[in-house]
């Protein structure tokens, strides 16, 4: 009895370790071929080929744009472990793909004429500090615009609107959305809008924060919480790969993503907004969406949000 239990436990631990390693792969360090949106390289090249480039007159003397142009590369802080949003290729760290990453390449092309980007991994804890001390030029990392944050840094955009959604285990039939989460244990991601939004929507729910999206999914599958509240886009890319979870209901918040820049750098903010308008009008924005987030949904490309349309932008 004892031996059989312990043997099973050991097998379980080994299997779970392997599963974790695999989860780590699909979330953080997988082969490009395994990821949704693979083959985006070709699409990326096509988008960049006819991307808009700023005229010499737009690169104002003494501006941030000029400093970037003289340096020869744009320094971008982004997540690097979010499939379809900003996913780094472990075999070729220079190659980052996803919605945020493709837009960053387009912005680099706009300033430099070529997509030269230096990627800096960002976390929710370090974003504002990296902008304030000039470590990076921009933060493009599903960065929700809020008025509180706008007191510390400035936001160009918004360039995309997402929202929080609810995922549950595939066999769950009792939870149909955010309204059913009162008093439940709800997994969220550390540093994501779920941490601040959940107490407002369902004050009686208990939060269980995990550091990464794959960890949150793993915790949900293992029953550490009744539901996982996370960005709809990130949940979609996880659910596309994982039959153990499903998304219930529609997004219940509106998260406008902005491009974070140093506080009160109005010149640079106007410049980025001009570029955003150019890639929206030029169709590159749609192409980027279709080759990244658009690959896991049936719906048509959404209409990009109006620039400056939310408080804080």
């Amino acid at each position: 009895m004892f031996t059989s239990v312990s043997r099973r436990s050991i097998v379980g631990i080994v299997a779970a370790s392997a599963a974790l390693a695999l989860a780590g792969c699909s979330g953080g360090a997988g082969l490009p071929g395994d990821l949704p949106g693979a083959g985006a390289d070709a699409a990326s090249a096509a988008v960049l080929k006819d991307a808009p480039v700023a005229s010499a007159a737009q690169i104002l003397p003494g501006s941030t744009m000029e400093a970037i142009k003289n340096r020869g590369k744009l320094i971008v802080a982004t997540a690097l472990d979010a499939p379809l949003v900003s996913q780094q290729d472990p075999l070729n760290p220079e190659n980052v793909t996803g919605m945020d990453a493709e837009l960053a390449k387009l912005l680099a092309t706009y300033i430099l004429g070529e997509p030269k980007v230096q990627w800096v991994p960002s976390s929710a804890e370090t974003r504002e500090a990296m902008l304030a001390n000039g470590t990076v030029d921009v933060v493009m990392s599903t960065y929700t615009i809020t008025t509180k944050r706008a007191e510390q840094i400035s936001f160009a955009g918004p360039y995309f609107t997402s929202g929080l959604a609810v995922a549950v285990k595939a066999d769950n039939t009792t939870i149909g959305g955010i309204d059913d989460l009162a008093g439940k244990n709800v997994i969220v991601q550390t540093g994501s809008p779920g941490v601040t939004q959940m107490p407002e929507k369902q004050p009686s729910a208990t939060l269980v924060p995990f550091a990464t999206t794959p960890q949150g999914v793993q915790a949900l599958v293992q029953g550490r919480g009744d539901a996982y509240v996370q960005d709809y886009v990130l949940l979609s890319s996880q659910a596309a790969n994982n039959k153990d979870i499903k998304i219930v209901g529609l997004p219940f918040t509106e998260e406008p993503y902005g491009i974070g820049i140093k506080h009160d750098n109005t010149q640079f903010k106007d410049f980025i907004n001009t570029w955003l308008k150019a890639v929206q009008d030029g169709g590159q924005w749609n192409q980027v969406w279709e080759s990244t987030l658009g690959t896991v949904t049936d719906s048509d490309a959404p209409k990009p949000p109006a620039i400056g349309s939310v408080p804080g932008s």
């Binding site: 631990i13 504002e128 510390q152 550091a211």
Partner: protein, 214 residues
């Protein structure tokens, strides 16, 4: 007011959890560490080897790896515990290895003649450990064990990664609203420093009281 009443309450709750984890794991690791040391110096070969393997394993595997294994791999094996007890258990068995190593160096300070005298008086192995060896060992390693306790208090911050709402985790979420990382993380750093100072000062007082002057 730079920070809301609610946020402050969250931070205090987090500090409470941090202290709870540090205290219980601290007491637990001293108890487990003592047992491991006793096994390490016992005359029974299999106990000695088991204690050696225990100490080597926990000293050589990173705490974060242990935490992630305990939180994600054990449920897959059918064992699921709430998060705070899981973290307390992991920290206890992890730091116990360091306590055991510190205490073993204390055992080496006990004069061989005393151990032989205990045996000559007819004390059993357990009795000599309990009345002669372990008490004297503890009195010579107060400071090293205090340092292990400080490391333990700092290591509680890793629990934030696996979903425990302790101080660091609360600072993360409060910072998410206020977006002032330097202010909040510096403050949290000072709080951790205060905890370390309290442990350090307490250790100093205890050391002065019990140290054996040889």
């Amino acid at each position: 007011m730079i920070i809301s009443q609610e946020s402050l309450q969250l931070l205090l709750n987090g500090l409470g959890t941090t202290i709870l984890i540090a205290l219980t794991a601290g007491v637990g690791s001293i108890v487990v560490g003592t047992l491991v040391t006793a096994a390490r110096v016992s005359p029974i070969p299999i106990l000695r080897r088991a204690a050696f393997a225990y100490a080597q394993f926990f000293i050589n595997v990173p705490l974060l790896a242990l935490l992630i294994l305990a939180v994600f791999a054990l449920p897959a094996a059918g064992i699921i515990l709430p998060l705070v007890p899981t973290v307390i258990i992991v920290l206890t068995v992890y730091e116990a290895a360091y306590v055991a190593e510190a205490l073993r160096s204390g055992v080496n300070t006990v004069a061989k003649g005393e151990v032989e005298a205990a045996r000559a008086l007819g004390l059993s192995m357990v009795q000599s450990l309990r009345y002669v060896i372990v008490p004297q060992s503890f009195r010579s390693v107060v400071q090293p064990i205090g340092n292990v306790m400080i490391a333990l208090a700092m290591n509680t911050a890793l629990a934030a990664v696996v979903g425990v709402l302790e101080l660091t985790s609360r600072v993360n979420s409060v910072n998410l609203v206020h977006a002032q990382p330097i202010l909040f993380y510096t403050s949290a750093g000072l709080v951790y420093m205060a905890i370390a100072l309290v442990i350090g000062v307490t250790t100093g007082v205890v050391e002065r009281k019990v140290a054996i002057v040889r």
